[in-house]
Chain length 403, copies 2
């Protein structure tokens, strides 16, 4: 039955009004006002999605799809802790709005990327690429390309080639530092001037495959796949060049078959001690950071992959390589003893402490769960659903050098 | 002219619709969606207001009034970095919503408070009081009183009294630590269980007047007004009790008239070195934190008040007591030399580094300005208006132990 004429404007006006309400509320479903200090993302590698999480309520807020290939994906947060940049294995660089849960931008910037970093001032995001090798720097706001730095190096026969880029980090002075795998070089890219400045350190060692930066941003340490030892660059004294440390680290040790090269980003620094994974041995190694000498070997459950310090440096938590990746162990940094062994689930891949360290979140990929523990009592606090969870990243990283 | 009947429902519906729109938009003016990682507050002591600031744009977003007496006010942020708790000198505890700019709660909880802390898990805010002496703990969400801990101690004549409470900090294990001025005691309050547990350390020294906690939350150090030296509590080994360190610190030194006791919260830790203000001398002192022995004295412009480390620990920035509070000096932590002297304005009161240290914000009270510098080039980047600015606090503190 058609409505009598006088009601038509009413309906129209109401519809308009409702439309306006709809617009005003449009931000609400994903965009309620909230602080972003207790948010985080969990990479769901099988489904190319991420779980957006709240560390205060210990809840998954939502799952967001459309990130492409997320195997070995990593995440950096913008300076305001609103957006996460997700670096995908397919060369995708995706900007996720943590407040609306929407993808705010996505580009395929290279063929095969393995991670990146956001500059100290928050303006630039750098991506390290395997294929073609090099670093691309984008504007974090517009995602426009700022500079493309091919990783071109001279081979021994005089020809030139492109190297895979690994271990991209940000350091104070608005610089990026990264390593060239085939070239055996470490480069710094200074973004503090309008004209970015590139510096190259050559012959640092054979095949740097990953790197770490100390929490104060001073020491850049690259692991070497092709020989023993590690390459250390003191960024406060670049004029001193790259030095070799820990000469027996790697091939020089008698060892088990290496199931997986350990990640270096997870190195734990506690006071003067650095705790780090042995290669191919069921040990966590301890070095004195004043002279980088090896001081202790701590026997653990398997070959360690991530060795991470609780924020107060009183504990170090260790995950292991396949096939012993069903357990997590906790080392007391004073006694150097294993004080706890936990079994959160199958295929433990990654872990992240809450900013002040009261909890730890652990991803158990084949259990499709993220498990939250109290780090003081080791009590299990929550078990959250996630699709093949791997990397876990919380927003406080936005405020830390090199994270 | 009255509207004909058929239009009445239309108007009513529109009005309702507009009302709904209004409600939906109500959050918008102060509450646009935004990350809270680059926000901060500047205390405006003369007007009892705070300036809400954005450290990415280097702008004052708005001024918010209604905080009461803000002389010596301090600020702590909630776990989600959405709210700031402002501790006023009049005993006021005010909760500011950084997103809407509105006061989300305000109580007068004591007669005269000097600061407080938020627990590791984010659930509790503790306030230390002068009058009456004690600590009150509130729920950070509801602001309801959780526990009232009077600072009652036994005097030498056997009678009991209440002491002023100073140096309230949070430490791992969901504990608060604080000092009792007249009593010469340090207490810990464990909030990790349903029944909070109080522990007392007696005879720690005469008149602890302020305290600091090391960045890892391990060492609580109280300055003593009534005698030389400082009181140190190793929270990893409370069974060892309180030890005395730096025996010559304070009265034992020949010195100038003391214009103002230095703040301890600003102690700079850089590697194994602690940089801290001498009492009544134009010096910054350096101690070796492995044995807390005094190793160096660095001559500076005036009597230092705040001695703060840039987040990468490469520089220490120093402000001074009246009448030499017109300058700020920068010390190189490797050479221990003063490398820069800046003159931001009149009556420099406080300073805060951006989370990764690229900038520093400095309050010049009598110039009614906050001045922002690049910490690498010492270039002045911005000069922002503020009413008699004092303390400056950025939200990344939410994620740091003891801040």
């Amino acid at each position: 039955m058609p409505l009598p004429y006088p009601f038509k404007p009413l309906v129209a006006a109401s519809a308009l009004a409702l439309l306006l309400i709809g617009q005003a509320l449009a931000e609400a479903p994903g965009g309620a006002l909230r602080g972003t200090g207790d948010l985080g993302v969990v990479i769901e590698r099988a489904s190319g999605s991420v779980a957006l999480v709240d560390t205060s309520r210990r809840e998954v807020l939502r799952h967001v799809e459309g990130f492409g290939d997320l195997s070995h994906a990593s995440v950096k947060f913008t300076r305001d802790a609103r957006y996460a940049f997700v670096f995908g294995r397919d060369g995708g660089l995706t900007k996720l709005d943590l407040l609306t849960g929407e993808i705010a931008g996505r580009i395929i910037q290279g063929g095969n990327s393995i991670g990146g970093a956001i500059s100290q001032d928050g303006r630039f995001v750098a991506v390290g690429n395997y294929e073609p090798g090099g670093v691309k720097v984008f504007d974090t706001e517009t995602m426009e390309l700022v500079i493309d730095v091919p990783a071109t190096y001279e081979k021994s026969d005089g020809s030139s080639a492109q190297a895979k880029v690994v271990g991209v980090v940000d350091v104070p002075g608005n610089m990026f530092v990264f390593s060239l795998f085939e070239a055996g070089e470490i480069w710094t890219l200074d973004m503090s001037q309008d004209e970015p400045e590139l510096s190259k350190f050559r012959d640092v060692g054979s095949m740097p495959y990953d790197a770490l930066i100390t929490p104060n941003g001073r020491y850049y340490i690259a692991g070497l796949f092709g020989e023993d030892g590690m390459a250390l660059l003191d960024l406060w004294h670049p004029e001193s060049g790259v030095q070799r440390i820990l000469p027996d680290y790697g091939q020089g040790e008698e060892r088990l078959p290496v199931y997986k090269m350990p990640h270096l980003e997870g190195w734990a620094m506690a006071g003067d001690r650095a705790f780090f994974p042995a290669v191919g041995r069921n040990e966590v190694l301890v070095a004195d950071t004043t002279d980088w000498s090896l001081t202790h070997r701590i026997g653990v459950h398997g070959q360690p992959i991530f060795v991470m310090s609780r924020p107060d440096e009183r504990q170090v938590w260790v995950t292991f390589a396949h096939p012993l990746n069903d357990k997590v162990q906790v080392i007391d940094t004073q006694t150097l003893e294993v004080i706890e062994t936990l079994e959160p689930g199958e295929s433990i891949l990654h872990k992240e402490f809450t900013p002040r360290g009261e909890h730890i979140w652990i991803s158990a990929r084949d259990s499709n769960q993220v498990v939250v523990y109290d780090t003081r009592t080791f009590e299990e606090l929550a078990r959250l659903p996630a699709e093949s969870p791997s990397g876990i990243f919380f927003t406080h990283r936005a405020h830390q050098i090199g994270l």
